[in-house]
């Protein structure tokens, strides 16, 4: 937008006012477009913060994460465009899981406390390959939360390019903060290379999902159907991602923004029947402010009686 948003003769505005006016101009340019809710913004920003802090801790434990984040908050995140997708995908997945958990019915209570003994699984029995692979998916998923249970991005799950870009941005900040002496710059450069190599060798939820899918073989459809029934969405996403040979975040975003009509094709490689997809469709339909491709139509219905 090249036009000025200020009337002539008005003093130069404060940066805050400029930002507000830019936002307003964008809004007025497309008032009917769906926008991020406060919850989506807050979740994504929190995820970005935890990711930046985790990456910084890997690069150099001496970095003060609060100072780094505060400055980036003020000036804007250097890799904003690059990390927007992963943060948004993780935030949307979290909203979906939270909603699903809150809507599920309260757990059944065993009418006879002692009866629970019969239903209790055997502890300490030898794990089958399938069970071990499933456990690995669970562990990889739980690494995607911080110690307080907030959604986060596990570093092994990060795309290599994004991880490297973040390392470089943080290293640049660190250099500017302390000094630009050549020795420190070289040390940071070494750290970037070492951490990039280390991260490339790590495996996250996508790899765990691929291993689980591989060991399931022909039983993958049953496992996916069971995950749907249990609302075990991370396992479902991991299986679908493996079946499509896509990344986990990529698959999560595709699923969370899919129209109902697109669901069968998303799960086609898992050979799920249409009935099995109904709970996903119902659960996604209840998620507010979802960025489906026909969002404008959903959020601003033109048909139907006005209320």
């Amino acid at each position: 937008m090249s036009e000025s948003i200020l009337s002539p003769g008005i003093d130069p505005p404060s940066p805050t006012l400029s930002a507000r006016l830019r936002e307003m101009a964008d809004y007025l340019a497309a008032p009917a477009a769906g926008r991020l809710t406060e919850e989506q913004r807050a979740l994504s920003l929190g995820i970005a913060r935890r990711m930046v802090i985790d990456v910084a801790a890997r690069l150099d434990p001496a970095i003060d994460p609060a100072a780094l984040w505060n400055e980036w908050l003020r000036r804007g995140l250097p890799s904003a465009t690059r990390i927007a997708g992963v943060c948004f995908a993780r935030a949307e997945e979290h909203r979906w899981r939270e909603q699903s958990a809150q809507r599920s019915s309260p757990p059944p209570l065993l009418s006879e406390p002692e009866a629970g003994n019969d239903e209790s699984p055997v502890i300490g029995e030898e794990l089958s390959d399938v069970a071990r692979a499933y456990l690995a998916v669970q562990i990889a998923d739980r690494r995607r939360f911080d110690a307080l249970g907030n959604p986060a991005i596990a570093i092994p799950d990060l795309d290599g390019e994004i991880f490297r870009a973040l390392l470089l941005d943080i290293a640049a900040w660190r250099l500017a903060e302390v000094s630009k002496d050549a020795k420190r710059a070289a040390r940071l450069g070494d750290a970037v290379r070492a951490e990039t190599d280390r991260q490339a060798a790590e495996s996250g939820i996508a790899e765990a999902g691929r291993a689980y899918y591989a060991v399931l073989g022909a039983d993958a459809a049953d496992a996916a159907a069971s995950a749907i029934a249990r609302h075990d969405w991370p396992v479902l996403i991991a299986l679908a991602a493996a079946a499509h040979r896509r990344g986990y975040d990529d698959m999560a975003l595709a699923l969370l923004t899919a129209e109902s009509a697109a669901l069968p094709s998303l799960f086609a490689p898992l050979r799920l029947d249409h009935m099995a997809l109904a709970p996903i469709e119902a659960s996604l339909a209840m998620l507010p402010a979802r960025a489906v491709s026909d969002a404008d139509q959903d959020e601003f219905p033109t048909a139907g009686p006005a209320r």
């Binding site: 019915s105 309260p106 209570l109 209790s120």
Partner: protein
């Protein structure tokens, strides 16, 4: 808001003959089932009320079990063959948010690890709070009992194993891990099909006893370990530990007392009635203690809602009118155009009024009258509850707001905390609660709050 309507049907004998899944599940969790007497005491009372009044009633419904507090609105339509139930706005609030991905419950406690295990007690998550000792390497997939060396409690039991058998929350499991004494607590987790999927909880580093020099004044309860009353978890624990079992005791005792499963000897039925009564008393005490723990927290402050004391007084009468009616007591409530706009927290003021009105009903003679008046004096809005009970003398008035003060009464009517809590709440809202009484002349309790103009 959950717009779904949950329906149920009660037959003439008070048995639940049909119910949508959430209601049926609650009935089952209270130890009953279909074609069994309604085992939810509050709902059963409302059904009885609707049947006695021969008209539809709509009331808030409160129920609780081991896992959650349930708040809903119920509409009861009585007819010749029983009553129909329509429940809306069903909100199940987990006692300790077990379903959120937050393993946070323990992690916010200093010196703790947050952990999660699957149904076979294999660890799938283990993280240290920022100030906690680091978690051991290689925990992934290890058995909980391998990672944490379980130690029996004073009764020789292992709370975690009991929790596993019952698929329910546990706490107070003493363990040793990484050469530290710790205490485990965990919430049971369930998936959408209701299948038990494991536990999520905290491992807190146990405090090292300081050379036998026990801090004086620290309240240590054998049932809750070394958790002092001031610990924010105390209220939650006491809720979780007592509310579910008590609700079941009450429901079962009421079933026996009502002779729903066939006639029994009258004195046995009476004993069961006594048990239910005592259970309800204990449940009230649990509520009071949880409140006490909350309001005695340093910095406790109530919300400043715009309220109308006239409206709240009428609500209180609506909720306790039935109880008064049972004793033939007439309540003279403020008229609908009597208003006293004030500032105070809506639910807390209602709680105070329910306490005052409940006491007035409890200690008033049969076929007497209770008056509730609202007024404004300068910058104070007031509501006064006056009864024709035996009254209290000046000496008793001086102590009536003390903790556990029951003025020498030994019946099972109250915990002796109600007025103490009520006054604390009133003062937390920048108001006060006072009493004016003389022996033989009834008592007048006045709640005053900052007045609000207009409204």
């Amino acid at each position: 808001m959950n717009e779904r309507v949950i329906r149920g049907r009660i037959d003439r004998s008070g048995a639940l003959v049909s119910a949508d899944a959430p209601l049926l599940r609650l009935q089952q969790r209270a130890g009953a089932g279909l074609d069994k007497p309604l085992a939810l005491p509050h709902l059963a009372r409302l059904v009885t009320l609707a049947q006695r009044l021969h008209r539809d009633i709509s009331r808030p419904l409160y129920a609780a079990d081991d896992h959650s507090d349930i708040h809903a609105l119920v509409r009861i339509t009585p007819d010749a063959d029983g009553a129909s139930l329509e429940i809306t706005d069903w909100r199940a609030r987990p006692l300790v948010q077990p379903q959120t991905p937050a393993i946070a419950e323990g992690a916010v406690v200093p010196q703790s690890w947050a952990w999660e295990c699957d149904q076979q007690l294999r660890i799938v998550a283990l993280r240290a709070a920022p100030d906690a000792p680091p978690v051991p390497e290689g925990w992934e997939g290890r058995s909980l009992s391998e990672l944490f060396e379980l130690q029996p409690d004073d009764d020789g039991r292992f709370p975690v194993l009991r929790g596993l058998a019952r698929q329910a929350r546990f706490d107070g499991q003493r363990v040793r891990a990484a050469k530290m004494a710790m205490e485990l607590a965990g919430e049971a987790l369930f998936d959408a099909t209701g299948r038990f999927t494991g536990f999520r909880g905290s491992a807190v580093v146990a405090e090292v006893p300081s050379g036998g020099e026990q801090k004086t004044g620290a309240l240590v309860d054998p049932a809750f370990g070394s958790l002092p009353l001031s610990d924010p978890q105390f209220g939650r624990r006491i809720d979780g530990a007592l509310r579910g079992p008590l609700s079941r005791i009450i429901a079962t005792a009421e079933t026996i007392s009502g002779q729903f499963d066939g006639p029994i000897r009258a004195d046995y039925a009476r004993y069961a009635g006594d048990i239910a009564h005592a259970g309800r008393h204990l449940l009230g005490l649990v509520d009071d203690l949880a409140d006490l723990q909350n309001i005695e927290r340093p910095g406790f402050k109530a919300a400043r809602d715009e309220i109308d004391l006239g409206d709240l007084a009428r609500r209180a009468v609506g909720l306790l009118g039935m109880k008064a009616e049972e004793k033939g007591i007439r309540i003279d409530a403020p008229r609908t155009d009597d208003r006293a706009p004030a500032f105070g927290e809506f639910r807390r003021v209602l709680q105070v009024l329910l306490n005052l009105l409940g006491n007035a009903i409890r200690y008033s003679p049969e076929n007497s009258q209770i008056w509730i008046r609202v007024d404004r004096e300068d910058d104070r809005a007031t509501v006064t509850v006056a009864d024709q009970g035996q009254g209290i003398d000046a000496e008793q008035q001086a102590v009536v707001f003390e903790k556990f003060e029951r003025l020498g009464r030994t019946d099972s009517g109250g915990s002796g905390l109600g007025l103490y809590i009520a006054r604390r709440l009133a003062r937390a809202m920048d108001g006060d609660l006072t009493v004016d009484s003389a022996p033989g002349q009834g008592a007048r309790f006045t709640l005053s709050l900052p007045a609000r103009d207009g409204g």
